[in-house]
């Protein structure tokens, strides 16, 4: 039965969708809600998946779209956290928050959403830059600059490094 086939194909991807969602949201229940929404939307639109194309990338695309809509609806409340440059709010030296930030999950939560998304698609899920660009529907140059800013931000958060900007981002 074709339906069973769809279900099994999609069900295989659940653990990886959960891993990504957990890292993205930092919260178990919120992550599983996101996965559930993703699965429901994917199943209702399964006819739109091009057989033979990468199912995992397709599912991540759906998840990303749902996540972006959720973030957008919350953006009013936390606008300031989305695109703040490190220097503006970075605790330095002996700030009591500082120790907590050394933990990776905590630091990740302080990276702006759009950078964290790229960090995770590339670093955790091992998508190529090209695949990440297609999932996020952005140019590959934007993937590179977000990756670059995200990793640098994370490095600063984790290691109290001064951002290094001696190299050009693109050739």
């Amino acid at each position: 039965m074709v339906v069973t086939d769809h279900d099994a194909l999609i069900a295989q991807q659940i653990p990886r969708l959960r891993r990504y969602a957990r890292a993205l949201t930092g919260d178990r229940a919120a992550a599983d809600d996101l996965v559930q929404d993703t699965l429901e939307r994917a199943l209702s639109r399964f006819h739109l998946w091009r057989r033979g194309s990468d199912l995992r990338a397709w599912l991540f695309t759906i998840m990303h779209n749902i996540y972006v809509n959720q973030v957008r609806s919350l953006a009013r409340h936390r606008n300031e956290a989305l695109e703040t440059e490190p220097d503006a709010e970075m605790p330095r030296g002996r700030d009591p928050d500082w120790l907590e930030l050394r933990d990776l999950a905590g630091a990740l939560a302080r990276v702006p959403d759009e950078q964290r998304t790229v960090l995770l698609l590339v670093g955790l899920e091992q998508f190529t830059y090209d695949e990440a660009a297609r999932i996020l529907d952005i140019p590959i140059g934007t993937v590179m600059s977000r990756l670059s800013r995200g990793r640098e931000r994370l490095r600063v958060l984790l290691g109290s490094e001064t951002p290094v900007t001696s190299l050009k981002v693109v050739k």
Binding site: P15, L39, T128, S148, R155
Partner: protein
């Protein structure tokens, strides 16, 4: 070093293993001469490894039932069809025996909700209802309280259908009730009950159909009823009549 100057993009691609070997060798040579950049690359590499260390455990967790359930809902194809059809505005496939006034359009939209509720819940194996027929008195009291008016659960035993139970659902204007019945072969019918905005109205049975799901719906003063099932139209009408008679003795 014969290649192009090393860029930040090269450093990331090096960390991510996405450089061709010749270019990777050039980056390595560059890093050997630039300890500050080498430290940065090492930090990025630690991040990537850290992400796996931190989150790979999720892969080994048992998948929660609510997620496994999503890919097991039956019958899926029909569910997808109905959802798609709602999205399209629900025109195609419906033969609503009614005048096309806005009032009747509204009526059709709640009958459609009833059909969707039928499609969503009737295939459930483990959780078809919130309160089972074994607690019928509690079920009726609870749903009556939530709908704000006394409800009656029609008995359909003489037609071969026994009550499975019921649940509370969100309707267009407030809570609605769904009662589920099944026959000896597991064929299920659902009766969707809502509170009408206009208590004075009473209508004849109307019929709507999408693929295999038929819905008879009618307004009976305070309450509106929609009976959905995948049975032959004549039999569905027989059940609808029996319900109407029991509610209006």
């Amino acid at each position: 070093m014969s290649g192009a100057p090393v860029t930040v993009a090269d450093l990331h691609a090096y960390v991510d293993g996405l450089l061709p070997p010749s270019r990777a060798a050039e980056v390595e040579a560059y890093l050997a001469e630039h300890p500050e950049e080498a430290a940065r690359v090492a930090a990025y590499r630690d991040q990537v490894q850290g992400l796996s260390r931190e989150f790979n455990a999720v892969l080994d967790e048992p998948v929660p039932e609510r997620l496994r359930g999503v890919t097991r809902r039956r019958p899926l194809a029909r569910y997808a069809v109905v959802v798609g059809w709602i999205a399209l505005g629900g025109v195609i496939g419906w033969q609503v025996h009614a005048y096309s006034t806005s009032r009747q359009a509204e009526t059709a939209s709640w009958a459609r909700r009833a059909a969707v509720a039928h499609v969503v819940y009737s295939p459930e194996v483990r959780h078809p209802v919130e309160v089972g027929a074994d607690q019928e008195a509690h079920l009726v009291a609870w749903l009556s309280k939530r709908l704000g008016t006394p409800l009656k659960v029609p008995g359909l035993g003489s037609l071969g259908y026994t009550l499975v139970g019921g649940r509370l659902l969100p309707g267009e204007r407030g809570p609605v009730a769904q009662f589920m019945y099944q026959d000896g072969k597991g064929q299920r019918l659902t009766l969707y009950v809502r509170v009408n905005a206009d208590e004075s109205r009473e209508t004849a049975f109307r019929f709507a159909q999408e693929n295999s799901i038929g819905v008879f719906y009618w307004l009976d003063h305070k309450l509106g009823y929609a009976l959905s099932g995948e049975i032959e139209k004549g039999e569905l009408l027989r059940v609808a009549n029996a319900i109407y008679k029991q509610l209006n003795p």
